[in-house]
Amino acid sequence: MTIEIKTATLQPIRNTFANIERRFGDKPASRYQEATYDLQGEANFHYRPLWQPQYELNDKSRTKIKMNDWYDLKDPRQFYYGTYVQQRAKHQEATETNYSFFEKRGLAEHLSEEVKSYLLTYLIPLRHVEHTANLNNMYGCAFGYGTAITQALLYNAMDRLGNAQYLSRIGLLLDGNSAESLTTAKQEWLKNPVWQPMRALCEEMTTVEDWFEVFIAQDLVVDTLIFNLFYSQLDEKLASMGARDIALLTEFMQVWNKDSSRWLDSVLKTVASESEDNSALLGEWVQRWRKKTLEALKPVVASMLDNSDALSIADASLEERLTKIGITY
Amino acid sequence: MSKVYLALQDNDDSRYIVEAIIEDNQEATVINQPAMIRIESTGELVVRRSTVEEKIGRDWDVQELHLSLITLGGNVDEDEDQLRLSWNV
């Protein structure tokens, strides 16, 4: 009886918040929608930032990209905080199993000195590239516009810190938790001539002003090339050196890259198809950073991989991605 | 000497943590408030992993404290074995 009364008297007076209703109509909304759209302040800022008086606190003109509605850049994964951390916790748990399997079975002991030195010279230093990616995604998060893109950039930034930490833990597995391998790998990053152009590129990216350009340079150009070279081509090379087990330790990054690519491709497709101006800008930025990054990777790739086509293979994967997104120049 | 304090959500895990705190901190006072438990003490308060593990009957990571912690007052020193709150004066 009571149940019938309840349904009769407990009709909701509205289905969702008014801003969501204005966008999507008067119907129940998803948690992603309610936790994303219009969250960021848009009007009547009280004071100009002391550190950038030329802009408002939240200001669309911090990039040359123009969107009629920045909330068009929605995340196909529908990540809000809760779904994001729960998704990552799942990956994390699987990764933890891999790492402890590797440790308990003493798999590091089966690695040849040559493999270990390979890892210290080429794989572990990538943690510094991931650190750069953390900075660059934070940059977009802080200076970007609209919760749709800024929250996704924050998740990406935290993921990159996570990637850097997993790479560091590979080092700790190799050196029995003394961190000596991290010191060695950092010296490679700082001193080894083959890494210097890439280090210079990382440093340069953190000084670029337009947040969307930084986003393109890092998440599209550098990441596509790096992931192909290090997690696909280097992975094969390590397998050929009898170090197939390392794939256990880089699986998180592989899974992450797939997840993140889905988001990135969708966002960039939307931006590119918004206007010719946007499309031209994306093309210009890609062209600039593609050239720089290929140059910067040349020495490290030449010394790391035997295949003289390695860089062109990576570049072809970038080309394929650009076509898919619709960036041409 | 000033008081340090922490407050925990009133849930099952917290009960064991509070038991452990009382055992390790003879001076501590426990105050029950709606949905929360506040524990205060003069000068210092320690949450020890080993004591909590004894009470809760399983491995317990000090960082798990953050699942139930609502607030704290005092300088924090946290490592693998304990979380210690203190004032220097």
Partner: protein, 502 residues
């Protein structure tokens, strides 16, 4: 040779700050350009003590566990129509104030920490700020999700982000955070991590959330306490930043003291709204604002400032005024809203007789003398069908933006007015504290977007107040505003009661 194993602290360093390096190819100042303009001297970032040591894997794991629990409660809450379990529909107005006034601040905190989490040159501090940034995003989103159910059954929640950018009283919290975010990175941390998180937010989250539980609102209590479980980390960051700055260079001490003075006062003004929520908007009371102030500021803050004295830091300026204000502030604030209830996006009301007695008991030195007579008069007027509303738009304090309704603390019948002249204009303030803040940085505060001025200047559309409320604020007039008595919220609530569901 067996290498020495790392302890937790060293391991955490290896996994965070050791990721950074000294630049050789680009100018590091161009990558981190905002570290010097405030005059703060950082001689050695490596002295930074990590306030907590959560690597990302542990972060995802623990936070996912918290979220799982929290959303299980939200689901149960909406499936079981948990809104029917609150003590009284008046209570819901407190969380309307929360969603429109506080949740957008969580959003601004997310943005502010993202900014400093990119801009600090020290990687240890950066990572701590990034984690706080993502936590703050968590807070605003869980709050929206908790309120989502209330929004379906009560008025006043529906346009919270739109309102936050525009409505007159919401410019109080908005300007507070705009002020912090527009400041330099170190001031931001002293403002939010130290003054707000460490010294003052307990007053918002602990007794108020305990009050939510006490009033049958499990959704709010749960997000509140779940958010607070992150807050403990944020508080340790607040304490670390202040110790770090004070230990880096003695020249930092006066700068930090100046910021503490400013942000303590700015924070107490913001909390006037919380004071009124606790004393007037919770049907079941947990503790009075005055008691909460004594426990969470005077005792806890007192201990903190004693601890900081060794660095040459003293209690914030005007702290003695707050010792007097704790007796008055909640009553004066609720009176401001009661008399402007036609222009507010939530309902106001006269306290019940039982509540008036509780207030008399909790405020023996002031309530009967100054405030009870007002409410008795309001009751008489209401009984005559003349519920009192102030027609005039209030003058706002240029700094805190609260209507000028607070009194001299030594003469609680006299409204306090202060003013300063700057470049030929006169600016008005509610207190010595707000005047002092303006005088330190007039070029900043002359920019204030004062809602009442803006209405008079025609920047909010509408020829009269009603049009501004309806068209510019997007309030549903007659639904969102006015007295609780006679409101649609009340009618629906009584209907649920009558049908036996509430």
């Amino acid at each position: 040779m067996v290498a020495k194993k790392l302890n937790l602290k060293d391991k955490y360093r290896a996994l965070t700050r050791d990721l950074d390096w000294d630049y050789d190819y680009s100018d590091r100042k161009k990558a981190f350009p905002y570290e010097e303009f405030e005059g703060i001297k950082i001689t050695d970032w490596s002295k930074w003590e990590d306030p907590f040591r959560l690597t990302m894997d542990a972060y995802w794991k623990y936070q996912a566990e918290k979220e799982k629990k929290l959303y299980a409660i939200f689901d149960a809450f909406s499936q079981n129509n948990g809104h029917l379990n609150v003590t009284d529909a008046r209570y819901v107005n407190a969380i309307k104030v929360f969603l429109t006034g506080v949740s957008p601040l969580e959003y601004q905190a997310f943005q502010g920490y993202a900014h400093v989490g990119r801009q600090f040159g020290g990687a240890g501090a950066r990572v701590a700020c990034q984690m706080q940034s993502i936590d703050e995003l968590r807070h605003v989103q869980t709050q929206v999700h908790a309120m989502s159910h209330y929004n379906k059954f009560f008025d006043g929640f529906q346009d919270w982000t739109h309102m936050h950018d525009r409505v007159w009283y919401l410019s109080v919290p908005k300007s507070f955070f705009d002020d912090a975010r527009s400041a330099g990175p170190f001031e931001f941390l002293i403002a939010i991590s130290f003054s707000f998180e460490y010294v003052l937010t307990n007053l918002l989250f602990v007794p108020f959330m305990s009050g939510a539980a006490h009033n049958g609102d499990m959704a709010t209590c749960t997000f509140g306490f779940s958010a607070q479980s992150d807050e403990a980390r944020h508080m340790t960051l607040g304490l670390e930043i202040i110790k770090f700055l004070l230990e880096q260079h003695e020249d930092n001490v006066p700068i930090v003291q100046k910021w503490i003075d400013k942000w303590f006062w700015r924070g107490t003004r913001l909390l006037a709204i919380v004071a009124m929520m606790m004393d007037y908007m919770l049907p079941n009371k947990v503790m009075s604002w005055k008691e909460a102030w004594e426990v969470y500021f005077e005792d806890a803050g007192g201990a903190l400032f004693k601890d900081l004295a060794r660095y040459g830091i003293r209690m914030p300026k005007f702290v003695e005024t707050t010792a007097k204000e704790k007796e008055h502030i909640s009553h004066q604030a609720w009176w401001i809203f009661y008399t402007h209830g036609h222009a507010a996006g939530f309902h106001t009301w006269i306290p019940s007789d039982e509540e008036l007695d509780w207030l008399s008991e909790k405020y023996p030195d002031t309530f009967d003398k100054y405030y009870r007579p007002r409410w008795e008069l309001a009751k008489e007027m209401e009984a005559r069908g003349e519920r009192f509303y102030t027609k005039a738009l209030p003058q706002l304090c240029t700094t805190c933006q609260i209507p000028m309704g607070f009194t001299e603390m030594d003469n609680p019948t006299q409204i306090a007015y202060r003013s300063s002249d700057y470049e030929g204009e006169k600016y008005h303030f509610c207190s010595d504290g707000c005047k002092h803040i303006f005088d330190q940085e007039p070029e900043k505060y002359v920019q204030s977007w004062l809602p009442v001025h803006q209405i008079y200047q025609g920047n909010c559309g509408g020829a009269n107040v009603e049009e501004v409320l309806r068209d510019y604020y997007k309030m549903n007039l007659g639904e969102d505003n006015m007295d609780f008595k006679g409101s649609s919220d009340e009618k629906r609530w009584n209907e649920w009661k009558r049908k036996g569901v509430a």
